[in-house]
Amino acid sequence: MASNAATLREDSLGQTQRRDLWWVQPVAMAAAFIAFIIYATYRGLANADYMYGHGTGKLPESAYFLSPFYSPLLALPSWLPAWLGPAIFVMWMPAGFRLTCYYARRAYYRALFADPPACAVAEMCKKNYKGERGVWIFQNLHRYFLYLAMLLVLMHVYHVVEACRWPAEGGGMRFGVSVGTLVIAVDLLFLSLYVFSCHSLRHLVGGRLDCFSGSSGESRYKLWRCCSALNEHHGKYFWLSLFTVGFADFYIWMVASGRIHDLRLF
């Protein structure tokens, strides 16, 4: 059906008539994805320096801090091999949410699979294309990962509250904030924005309805409007939350390993 005119051919990867720097975005995204995957895999398998504060044996004078990669912290049975840390049993949830995210799909289909690398640019493999009908049909489970991600957001709220409870000199706890508290609070903010701007959530709260009238319809319309407003920036929140979650883990790693000191602000 498509034109066969000889001069219109786009047969091999990257062939295009475009003259702009179309390759910059997919290359930058591929670099960001690969860097994050390598870092998260290393930290998930490291099984060390992922928490500090009272009750952890490290920096007992500090509030309790836990890396977001290890949240919620699972108590594993002793018969498991030592290299199987708690992160392995937790990270599949946020990883699954991000892997099946509608924005992320656009980003990694373009950046990692060049399918297509950019609009009106020839792609890598033209044979046996099945889109999301073949092996990628599991993307349809995104809503279940959403439910898990919402639970993880609740866990992050708990960790931010814990990061504000510092041991007092005379015993007991008192309110306090350090740079670390701000780091995980910012991570919570962007993670929440990312999760609550999800396309599946937008569908579940009201998008699935055709009529917004009636007793529950109006409230669901308001929810749908809120979700839609956030949804417009879903891609930005994806990248910001990816950065903040990685940075929060890095900060806790650095403090827990004694390389830097967590400055208490008040």
Binding site: M1, A2, S3, T7, Y109, A120, D210
Partner: protein, 267 residues
């Protein structure tokens, strides 16, 4: 002396063609379609190009300018560097009839597959209708008996009515452009049309099986090129394709909903 634009325009048909260079004077406010018309006037009256309104509202003058799908009447010449050739080609996903005119009749055949608007049965009274607002019966004004729905409900489907059928989204969609799935895939334009009907508060038609099986919604891997090229700035991916994908998941892929339908068939 007026500045000169160098145009490389595709001349030929679907089987044989070449790029031909033309030079035309550039006038202030000129768009690419004006330059093509200048070529017709100065050198080649037989140059085929489809156009109508010159205001970005008829969707006739779709083409590829320097490799980017655009409406030629909305593409200003002054954004291209002076002295560099501007390459103008017909849209790639459809057969070339002559020069810049393509045969887009495939789209009309796809359109015929989509069942048109089907009015919900009339509610017996306004109070009944309010009670069944999310149900299958439509609401009517008590005085005029005209069907009615809220502005909020209208706003959502109104966006889809902005489509001018320029087929730039169909052209740039890699499922059609690269994989040539014209037999199995409907393309973004028709997902927009299905969404406008499926989300209409007074429509009772069911097109989800059609959109999944015959229009091949699963082939779409939501790379958003359709949204990027839409001259009407319709959020094709976010507001039409993804909501349709979610409705298809509701019906066909959600294991818990499937189980609930087996246990509670009437609900």
């Amino acid at each position: 002396m007026a500045e000169e634009a160098i145009l490389h325009i595709y001349r030929g048909n679907n089987d044989k063609g070449e790029m031909v260079e033309y030079r035309v004077p550039v006038q202030p406010g000129m768009v690419v379609l004006d330059a093509v018309h200048a070529v017709q006037a100065m050198y080649s009256p037989d140059l085929a190009v489809r156009w109508n309104c010159k205001a970005g509202k008829c969707g006739s003058c779709s083409g590829e300018v320097n490799g980017k799908p655009r409406l030629m009447c909305m593409d200003r010449m002054d954004k291209y560097p002076a002295g560099e050739p501007i390459v103008i080609r017909p849209i790639k996903s459809f057969p070339v009839m002559k020069d810049l005119a393509t045969d887009v009749s495939w789209n009309y055949r796809v359109n015929k597959k989509i069942p048109p608007f089907q009015m919900k049965p009339v509610a017996t009274s306004l109070r009944d209708a309010d009670a069944k607002s999310a149900g299958s019966e439509s609401r009517r004004d008590s005085a005029t008996a005209e069907p009615r729905f809220s502005q909020e409900e209208a706003d959502r489907v109104q966006e889809f009515r902005k489509c001018i059928e320029c087929y730039l989204c169909q052209n740039v969609c890699h499922v059609l452009r690269d994989h040539e799935k014209h037999e199995e895939f409907g393309g973004p334009r028709f997902f927009v049309r299905v969404a406008s009907l499926e989300m209409h508060p007074l429509d009772c038609g069911d097109r989800l099986e059609l959109v999944k099986d015959q229009l091949g919604l699963g082939f779409c891997n939501i790379t958003r090129c359709c949204t990027e090229v839409c001259p009407e700035h319709i959020h094709i991916t976010d507001n039409a394709i993804i909501p349709l994908k979610e409705r298809v998941v509701d019906r066909f892929y959600d294991p818990i909903k499937k189980l609930l339908r087996i246990v509670f068939p009437k609900a």
